[in-house]
Every structure is written in C-alpha cells, then in structure tokens.
Subunit: 335 residues, 2 copies
DNA sequence: TCAGAAGCGCGAAACGTTTCGCGCTCGGGG
DNA sequence: CCCCGAGCGCGAAACGTTTCGCGCTTCTGA
C-alpha cells in the first residue's frame, strides 16, 4: 500500500539509485531487471510524482484559466485540451476567475505555487504585465482564442473576421441587403471586434452602405441576444437577416423572433455562431459558423508541449484555424 | 523569481524553521513578523506546494474521473465541483476513460501517482475491487450520480425514480394514457433503471397497464433518441406523449417528431431530462426534469472535504437531491 | 529576588525522488 | 598475460518544505 523506491531497493537488495535508474529506463543487468519487475509488481509500486516533481522541477501539470465556467465554448475547448494533454502525459488544473481580472492574477499565483509547467488562458490587456511575468519565470504560456498586442506569445485563434464575412456574404448571395448583426458587448474583446470587422468587410466589398441601426451589442447571453435582436427589429430598418456572433446570443435571437411571431427564414433569415449539438434540432435547422473545438484544444496542447520541450525560447507562434460555415434551413430561403 | 523559504531566511537573518512557522500561521515576534512580511513581498515568495505536498503527504488535489468528455451533464457537474473545491483550497485533476473500464483503472493508478487526496467518480460495478482499493489506501472516495451495491461509499445522487414518476404523472394529469419512454441503453446503468422504475410506478399507481411497445432503449445520444422515438411511433401503439430520460435523447425525440411532421404538444406531448440552456428556445418551450447541477457539485465537494478532514472513517453518507419538474408548452396541451 | 512558566527561535531529520561521479567487474585485444 | 574501456551499481547530496524537541529569553508572581 503506497510503497516507495526504498521498499523496492530493500526487497531486491539493490540500491535506491539503481531502482531509480531502472524506473527511468536505464540499463540494468537482466537478472536485476527481472528482480525489479517482480518487486515492483509485488508491492505495486508507483512513482511518487510529487517527489519526482520536486526533484526534477517539472510537475507535468498545466494550468488552464478561463473567465468563468459558464462559457460552453471554453468548457468544450478545455475538454479537448485535457484530452490532448493527457496523451503527452500532462494533467490539467482548471481555474476560473468569475470575470474579475484581479482574481485572475491571484489564480496565476496559485498556479505558481502548484509549480505548473505551463499555463493556457484567454488573455486580456489588463493583465499584460502578469503574462510577461509568467514567461519571465520560465513557465510556458499559450494564449487561447485571442492574442494581445502587449505580449508576444504563442496563441491559438480562428479566422473570426473571415468567418463573419463569409456568413454575411451567404446572406448577400441569397439576395439579402438589410442584414443585422447581434454582437457581444465586451470592451476590447478581440473576437467581437474581428467579427464586426468581417461584417463590415462584406458590406464594403458589396458596395453596400452599413446602417448602424442594424448593429446591436449586448451581453453575451441568451437574454442579451434577445434584447439585441428586439432592438434591431424595433429600429424599423427593414432587416431581413441576422447574424449572431455567439451561441447563446443566437438562442436569444430565436426567442425574440418567436416572440414577435416572425418566421425563420421566411421573415428573417438567421445564422448563429458556435451552436453545436442542437443546431439541427431546431425547425428549420440552424445555419451556423462553427469553430473547430477539437483542433483548438489539440493545437493549444501541441503548442505548449512543444514549448515545454524546447530549451531555447523560440519566437511566438500564432496558429489561426479555419472556421466552417454550415448552411441549413434557417438561412436558406431567398428573399 | 521563484524564491524559497531559504532565501527568506537568509534575507531576514532568521532560520528556515521560523520562516516556515510564520508561513503556517505560527507566532513570531512583532519585529520578525514585519521583517518576514517585507521579505516575502520583496522576493515575492510563494510556498512551493510540491515540496509541501511531499512533506505533509497532502497535495490538496482531488481527482475527478468521468466516462468521457462528451457528456454535458458530467462536464457541468465537474465545473461545479471545481468551483466548490476551489473555495476549500483544493484543485481538481480531471480524467476520462472513453468508456473503457480497464482504462478507468489505469487512470486511477495515474491519480495514485499524483498523490491526490481524494477521488470523485461515477462508479460502475466492474471496477468495484478498484474502488475498494482506493479506500484502503486512505484516499477519500465519493461516488457521483449513482451508488453501487458492492462498495459502501459516500455518494451524491438525485431522486431519479420520483423524477420520472412525477413527469409521467403530469402527463396523466393532462389526460394522456398512452405514454412513451425513451430511455438510455447502458447495461447496469443505475439512472436508466431508476427512471424506468419511476415510469412504471406512475402507471401502476394509476392502474394503467404498461405497453412494452411504448418503451424504447437506445444509445445515449441525439441519434439514439431519434431512433428510439421513431421505433415507438412505428409500433403504432397510439402514443400521445413521450418522456425522454436524457437531454440528447430529448433532442433526438424532437428531431424525430419534426421528421414525421408531428406537432408538439398537439400530436405528441414531450418532456425531456437535463435540458438547461435551450429548453426555452424551442417553440413551444420544452418541459424538462432538471437536476440541480450546482448543488450536486457543491455536495460532492462537501462530502469529500468533510471526509478528508476526518481522522476516523465515518460511515458512508448518501445524499439524495431533489430534481425539479418544469412544465412548459411542450407538454401542456391536454388531449 | 528568584523560581518557574510561557513564548519564541533554531538545528536537524525527514518526505521520495533524481543525479553525479566514482569504483568495481568483466571481457576483449594487443 | 595484462591493460583498458565499457557497463553497471552505489553512496551521497540535493530539491523545498514541515516538524520535533531543546534551549534561550523574558515576564509573572510570591
């Protein structure tokens, strides 16, 4: 029950050093190998990773920090990160900071204490100094979902701008010209900014004027999407299509349209973001922009593991993955 | 950058032992206290939890193991467990075993190596021996979502049987007598068994004969729910209402009903399980049985922390939480 | 004034591992 | 036959903490 390297040494008559060598793949005489294998099985010995971590200064632990545990997007990405890191022998400690950036700093210090080998997080400009500190301490850092200007660092992002642009262009292709945007209202949020830019890009490319009444910002939630959608409808700008840049906001948009008795897509066409499991359950099925959650997690894991292995600090790698626009019934009726 | 207790000792001129004492809340002379506080801030010292863990034989780490990372129910419960444990100063290491019970044993051994103080998992009968081993090693164990007969152990569950019964009774109250059940098909799955029992209870209490054609088992997934629902419809037993015992299966049921052109609730009334965010986005809104995810997480955390504190092994505590039946449009039209 | 108690600080060992470098053995080649 | 090198095993120190018990100081009270 909880035997140590010492017990193995005692039982085999070998020294602690030799046992350790064997455990770590070193060569030992065949007869000793047999002895050791038997003894390890007998006492069901397992390396004490805590002791090893202390000695080697590597814990095989990666910290992941997210704003909160409510975000489906981040939770799924975390699942995939955990899954991928596990294959490399790493485990994950997950923290949230309930949207409080001061608390994020605390969590980072908490992870310092845990001696994690690396940290993965979606950065915000406010804590740029802390991120630099992480790197200075020799802890590998990977940014999730967005880069920040102030800190050059590995990052895994998606082509938000192109994604929004393509979604709007699909509306245009179906003859829509009065297109609404239900966007996330978080100051400085990279993804919101990029998706807006994509929306504007598409308009500019089509030579279409942008009507600000058709753009609404609101809290990233079902209620936020609901309110934003109503405000667009109430602006009476003749909107015939809406792009919602977040799954919850897309749900809010559906609720708002239902509440107003507007049919999808006949009265208003709709495309959402990040709606995964249930997009096809709606009637008509919901068109969506999907981010490659699996790849995002894998890439985050790859980036951090690669950096961990490296001795020399390599220059920051920013990986941008492609989103996919999946068109279904909710946006497929032409005007 | 990564200073230790030794650095503090050197800078303050005090001994290592005194620094340690201070860190752990021991009394020191006021002048020394000031010195220590200053020095700790100066060098921004943080206790090395790895070293502490080695010495104290407590890592403040709890392992959580789930069958896979796809289950929304478990992922949400994990979020809440993490959140609650964090308040007690514990962190969480999450593993999955992709439905492979042999792999679950490996993950448990992996957690042995990490020297976790406790483990939380949904048990299965196959690995009863391993669970006993966990307890024998002095690692606290809490069962999630279900107990098993072979191992007496703390557990957090919900009133699955009553939940299903109440859902069926709400159908009965609306005049339905031909009620379908779309159930999860996993051998030995406690929750599936209990929910079936509740379904049967309600029938028996109402003096209603059970028609086996109205009960279908299938994979716990959207497709499974879809297939199961179609099979019930195709049995031509005159079903007018359906209870789906899982969120994905409820989605599958909706898809199946849409596919057949059946209206909810006019043609078929529907109640789902565990549909949280989007239940009110459907039109009509979906009636559901909800499990108290927050409380489940908190209670799991409480149970394990309580057991961790205890010196003496107390007798197993099984906490059963109440589910809530929320009736909405999808089940509210009488026949 | 002095004995004793209370409070504080310190040295040293210990937790379980890795790692360094030395010394031994054994075999092969000159 | 002897020397040298390769290969293996071992002792000891180290990672950063906690903890034990002893010894010193200081204060209280008779």
């Amino acid at each position: 029950m909880g035997s140590t390297i010492k017990d193995i040494a005692k039982q085999t008559g070998l020294s602690i050093a030799t046992v350790s060598k064997f455990i770590n793949g070193g060569n030992v005489l065949p007869e000793n190998r047999a002895l050791l294998e038997k003894s390890i099985k007998d006492l069901d010995f397992e390396v004490n990773q805590v002791a090893r971590g202390l000695k080697k200064n590597r814990t095989m632990l990666i910290g992941v920090i997210v704003p909160n545990f409510e975000s489906k997007f981040f939770m799924r990405v975390i699942s995939n990160i955990e899954n991928s890191l596990m294959r490399y022998g790493y485990s994950t400690i997950v923290c949230d900071y309930r949207g409080d950036y001061k608390l994020e700093v605390e969590k980072i210090h908490f992870l310092y204490g845990k001696k994690v080998d690396g940290i993965i997080l979606p950065p915000n400009e406010d804590n740029a100094k802390t991120y630099k500190d992480i790197i200075k301490r020799g802890i590998s850092l990977v940014f999730l979902d967005r880069p920040i200007d102030a800190v050059p660092c590995d990052a895994i992002i998606v082509d938000n701008r192109a994604a929004a642009r393509k979604a709007v262009e699909s509306f245009l292709a179906n003859g829509h010209t009065k297109i609404g945007l239900v966007n996330m209202n978080e100051p400085g949020l990279y993804t919101a900014h990029e998706r807006l830019a994509g929306y504007l890009d598409a308009h500019e490319a089509a030579g279409l004027e942008v009507d600000r009444r058709r753009i609404a910002f609101a809290a990233t939630s079902v209620d936020g999407g609901y309110d934003a959608t109503l405000s667009i409808l109430d602006a009476n700008s003749g909107v015939t299509a809406i792009l919602a840049t977040n799954d919850d906001m897309a749900f809010g948009a559906i609720k708002a349209l239902n509440a107003r008795g507007l049919r999808i897509p006949d009265d208003i066409a709709l495309i959402g973001f990040d709606v995964y499991d249930v997009a096809t359950v709606f009637n008509p099925e919901l068109s969506v922009v999907v981010q490659p959650l699996g790849e995002i997690g894998e890439t985050a894991a790859d980036l951090i593991v690669k950096r961990l292995g490296q001795e020399r600090p390599l220059s920051p790698r920013v990986v941008e993955l492609k989103t996919e626009l999946i068109l279904r019934g909710s946006s497929e009726k032409s005007v």
